[in-house]
Symmetry: C2
Subunit: 376 residues, 2 copies
């Protein structure tokens, strides 16, 4: 429990015609400009990219997974190295999720009031994560921002289940807050409630009653249509406190980032750019390009002639196509660089649009003129 927040959020400007906001988060590992996209570094590495390239594409903060890091390298190793920053040699801020999302996607997990029991996917051993254990793990990791332990439920769970789940998530949020002791680490609470407006409202009131350092919308991007998550965003985005960072978890498709920013959200994370990159798809302002398609074989142009990333400055679509046809690691590396650069450039462009009160024009351009697909 922090008396003084280890991070500070500064609201710089709100777009004149939307709820899009431009801000800044001060942490001991540096300043984060918002809106911000956080690349996901599940296993103490953002997949297929070096730390240097991660900096080069403009990453200001990355996300680590408490669940995965707890399994391996494990707390002994993390403690021995003095935390994740030092272990992976990343000098900028890190946010960790609580492990909830990963644990709840395991088949054999058992939930009780105390926490969640499950078998290690690595060696089958019996493990349990409680709010207290999640705080312990995240404190060993030493992230700048930790997340409260919550139950992440599917978008289509029934009303009764979601109702009892959010009440438990509230109790777990308070236990997370009480057991969290690391004074140089911020702690965010997570609003759940699936797609039920009444339950989202209750969860929001519950979670914001705890003086967390920031607040998140969880349980979105878990299978629902974008219109459904947009509705939740429209109803609840601006209900989150204005003086603290607002984080929408697991959102990172270009479409959803634009809609989230419009509704007052500040922080995003998603494996989408790196995962798509490893599978041969590039993100651009004109939609997605499947580099595996044979029509790319002779294209001497880069993915985007206006893109300043390493990949576009150095390589053609034809070359990247060839790398994917031969299943060469370099193909995955080059598209991971490009896609992360794209997502980060997108939030940078949105920052500028907000500063100049033209977020609506930006959105119009993004969806209509550039023809970006309005889908998840």
């Amino acid at each position: 429990m922090n008396d003084v927040s280890p991070i500070k959020y500064e609201l710089l400007h709100i777009d004149r015609y939307t709820n899009a906001r431009r801000g800044r988060i001060y942490t001991k590992h540096g300043i984060i400009e918002t809106p911000v996209f956080m690349p996901v570094g599940t296993n103490a590495t953002v997949k297929a990219i070096t730390g240097q390239s991660l900096e080069d594409v403009g990453s200001e903060i990355i996300l680590g997974n408490a669940f995965h890091l707890f399994l391996r390298p494990g707390l002994d190793v993390l403690d021995s190295f003095g935390g994740l920053h030092s272990f992976m040699n990343w000098k900028k801020p890190i946010l960790t999720d609580s492990g909830g999302f990963q644990v709840f996607s395991l088949k054999d997990r058992i939930i009780d009031e105390q926490g969640v029991s499950f078998r290690s996917p690595l060696d089958g051993s019996k493990l349990k994560i409680t709010p207290e254990i999640s705080m312990k793990i995240q404190q060993s990791i030493g992230s700048d921002i930790a997340m409260a332990f919550d139950e992440c439920i599917t978008a289509y769970a029934d009303h009764d289940y979601v109702s009892s789940s959010i009440d438990r998530t509230f109790r777990w949020a308070k236990r997370s807050f009480e057991s969290h002791s690391r004074k140089d680490q911020a702690l965010f609470g997570i609003v759940q409630g699936a797609l039920f407006e009444d339950l989202r409202q209750r969860s929001l009131e519950q979670i914001t009653s705890v003086p967390f350092d920031g607040y998140a919308l969880g349980g979105l991007a878990v299978g629902e249509k974008y219109q459904e998550s947009e509705k939740i965003l429209q109803s609840f985005g601006t209900q989150l406190p204005t003086d603290k960072p607002r984080y929408i978890m697991g959102i990172g498709s270009p479409t959803m980032m634009v809609l989230s920013v419009e509704n007052g959200m500040d922080m995003f994370d998603c494996v989408l750019p790196t995962r798509m990159g490893r599978h041969g798809t590039a993100l651009t302002y004109n939609g997605r390009i499947n580099l595996k398609a044979s029509k790319c074989a002779y294209i001497e142009k880069p993915i985007d002639e206006n893109c300043s990333c390493y990949t576009c400055r150095n390589h053609s679509q034809g070359y990247i196509h060839h790398l994917f046809k031969r299943d060469e690691i370099l193909g995955k590396m080059l598209l991971s660089i490009h896609n992360l650069h794209f997502n980060i450039s997108l939030v940078k462009d949105m920052r500028k649009a907000i500063e100049e009160d033209r977020f609506l024009q930006f959105k119009k351009q993004f969806f209509e003129v550039s023809g970006y697909p309005l889908k998840n």
Copy 2:
């Protein structure tokens, strides 16, 4: 057939006590200091490393594979892009092998006087490579140095077979030379003869009777013991012309590079550093380190505290161990960087030792004091 060689070899110095020599090869894509290690870029990419990192580790020339590039992307694409340099955006020199080594390792290849027939490992289609076709492929690739088409035979083929094979390789060498027309591309001949001294002698006399721009020893590092290849090196290294580059093909283990330099060789290539790197093994002056070993989990030191590569400047053995345990691509990337940097640093150290007439001390230090394993 070139009237004037498109490359120039300058012999700078011969070590006072050995046959080790320090030289320089001038090409239209830049100067190559020798002895030189050439990273292997089979499919128009040195595996798991960006072009930028390849430059950063000190690569002065890379090797491309005519056989693989002929299959994919194919000559149409290479011609459309104006050659391999432009296709992969590599601005320094490139050497291509003739396809011989790859074709002869296929099971169903049929050799006749004309060339080699085989089925494409990609789609089963019937293909044939002749000396003339190999020259055509390498001319489309546009490498700075092309290799004559030869039969690469196993170390333990019988005397009769090797005898007839080297005579055919001689006829193919002359056909390669006659059909080669690209004036800005050098062409090297290849001495074969397995482990038979009399046949190596005959092949050397045959091949050096053709005015190639450089000469190679082929058919080594194909399964024999290091002492056997060392014997061939001792007998024939210095018999190769002194005024042209000397290349020993497929050699790139630290041990064999040192023995090759001692016997007057200038150029080396091998997939060993990158392949070992992708499998978790690091090369150092104190032997190999298996980063997958559990004893590495807590080691906060880099692979080599004296190494200046990106990997050693930024990451611990414990971190790399973790990446391999999680099968993360970054592990392969980091060890490929380190191992290439190691092989290139090794040739740089040998250059300096030759310049200062202390190659023997260098060799002694390498094998005895540092305890580097004297094996293949």
